[in-house]
Amino acid sequence: MTSRWRDLGLAGLGLVLLLLVPVFGAPPAIRDFIMFGMAYGLLAMSLNLLIGYTGLVSFGHAMFFAAGAYAFGLAMQSGKFSIPGAFVLAIGFTALMALIIGAICVRLNEIYFAFLTLAFQMLFYNIILGWVSFTGGDQGLMGGIPRPKFLGIDLADRTQLYVFCSVAFVACIAVLRQIVTSPFGYTLRMIRDNQERAAFLGINVTMVKLACFVMSACVAAVGGILLTLFVSGAYPNFGFWTTSGEAIFMILLGGSNVFLGPLVGTVILRLLNDITVTYTSHTELVLGIVILVLVLGLRKGPLDLLAERWENRRQAKAQAVRDAADKDAQTGRDA
């Protein structure tokens, strides 16, 4: 129980820190960086629920990112929904989509699951591209996203948009944290570590995987909505396999075994991206070299490494304490 309150407290602290950014007069560039980071961060964090906690490697997660983005964008452009209404609609649509696709995919294991999610993602992408009259095809949703006021909040104002995104972001992270620290979350880890044993213990593995799939899809959809609000449009490459790939890199660069690892990975990748774009036209070369150095040098995500070293140091300390206690006991006996 205490850990839940602690987590919520930390979430609140995080939210306060985020909200202080515009208050302390940080330039809009930082706010833009953070908002971009929040959208992609949700994509990466939600994917890690599948990869890091359940052991389900999905190559097609970006389809839910795109689904949320397009559903929200189309709902707002139709003029028939308020922002909260469109928000709920987009998440609902994505949940339904995940339910259907997940029911087919979660029965497969490992690399086959990965390729099947990829196949579905590319099917979805081709539909977005092909249905030009509805989705705008390769040009995406043009003309901007209308932002009518709701509850006195006006999302056309960049500061209010930032606050809204921060709240949505922290709420989703808190939800993910609750999932991960709940008994359901430990069931996920059990499935990751030994699926057969979990089944023998009476767990309906397929159902659990499906539930996890749908939940992570919903969080990814929120990320898509945030990105749509930020760029005032939705584009097909939100659902292209390279976006799924980016999410995987964010997880790997940050660490898949620590809860906030993917978020750190998102920040690292976005920073790398922004810095290389600023200083060189050879963005691909620099990015590739940096990734190689990180991967071959570290072999794991930095947070994973730190967590491991922390764990080792803690165990070493605990061992030292035990050795000292043994020694005392020994000297005590000798005396």
Binding site: V57, F115, W241, L252, E284, R299
Partner: protein, 300 residues
């Protein structure tokens, strides 16, 4: 959707011949590339996401050698060998470090290599699309066969790809080298315990797989436009073929390439806007009903 056009075509021999050959053209090139992917996966249990880059380097190498020597055959051979050597280097220096890690680390390493090679190609050869042109040996009028039309270069390309595929199948199936490789695919440490330096064989397999990609690039160079990033498009298709055919099966790759080739060629008449969608649908169906692919063994 234009299914009447499709039915009409199937009724005419000339159309059937033309579309069959066009399907083979697409399919055989895909087969060369996919065979490399499936070989590397079958033996090393590694998905080489950088395979498209090897194809691209093969094409650019062939172009450069052709400018220097003027002989297409020398250039093609040279390109295949060059990319094979590059593949061995790539394996020894980078891929072997992530053999044991999970597939995502391998993906990351390959992606980094893709980025680097794309940019290096752009720096060395420039961003302007390059064209090799048809070598003079093949500047012949198209061959007429049962009313259909087939350019001579494509006949060469199909035969070359089939020959290479057959050679590969024989080497893996019938030679000592091949049996060691197959044994290493099943149980590497055991082969090593028999006193064989398994790492050399791993490197050789990667080299062969890469040379296949390089050969594909060299075969494609006269009829394609060379741009940095050209490896991208064939990468996804080669994975579709590998999955449908069965990962690790060369025969599967052959069958699946032909299926995809025919889907593309007949599909462009019957359902031109859904061809990509149909390909992914086939892949999805195979994964749902027979995940190990048409000819693959159940994945260990």
């Amino acid at each position: 959707m234009d299914l009447d056009a499709l039915l009409r075509c199937v009724g005419m021999t000339s159309c059937v011949v033309t579309q069959l050959t066009s399907g083979m053209i697409i399919g055989m090139l895909l087969f060369l590339i996919a065979s490399g992917v499936t070989l590397i996966f079958g033996v090393l249990n590694v998905i080489n996401f950088a395979h498209g880059s090897l194809y691209m380097i093969g094409a650019y190498a062939a172009w450069t050698f052709y400018q220097l020597t003027g002989s297409y055959f020398v250039s093609a051979l040279g390109a295949a060998v060059a990319v094979g050597v590059l593949g061995v280097l790539f394996e020894r220096v980078l891929m072997s470090k992530v053999y044991g890690s999970n597939v995502l680390m391998q993906l990351l390493v390959c992606y980094a290599v893709v980025l680097i090679s794309d940019d290096l190609i752009k720096i060395i050869w420039g961003p302007v699309p390059l064209s090799m042109g048809m070598p003079p040996e093949f500047r012949l009028p198209p061959v007429r066969f049962m009313g259909g039309v087939i350019p001579p270069f494509y006949i060469f390309m199909i035969l070359a790809a089939m020959a290479i595929g057959l050679l590969l199948w024989l080497v893996i199936g019938r030679t000592r080298f091949g049996s060691i490789v197959r044994a290493a695919a099943i149980n590497g440490p055991m082969v090593s315990a028999l006193g064989i330096r398994v790492n050399l064989y791993y490197a050789a397999v990667f080299g062969i797989g890469s040379a296949l990609a390089g050969a594909a690039g060299a075969l494609a160079a006269p009829v394609r436009s060379l741009t940095p990033g050209m490896g991208f498009s064939i990468l996804i298709e080669s994975f579709i073929v590998t999955v449908i055919g069965g990962m690790g099966s060369i025969v599967g790759a052959f069958a699946a390439s032909i299926i995809i080739g025919l889907t593309r060629s007949f599909g462009s008449i019957g359902f031109p806007l859904f061809v990509d969608g149909v390909m992914f649908l086939i892949m999805a169906l195979v994964l749902i009903f027979k995940p190990s692919g048409l000819f693959g063994r159940a994945h260990r």
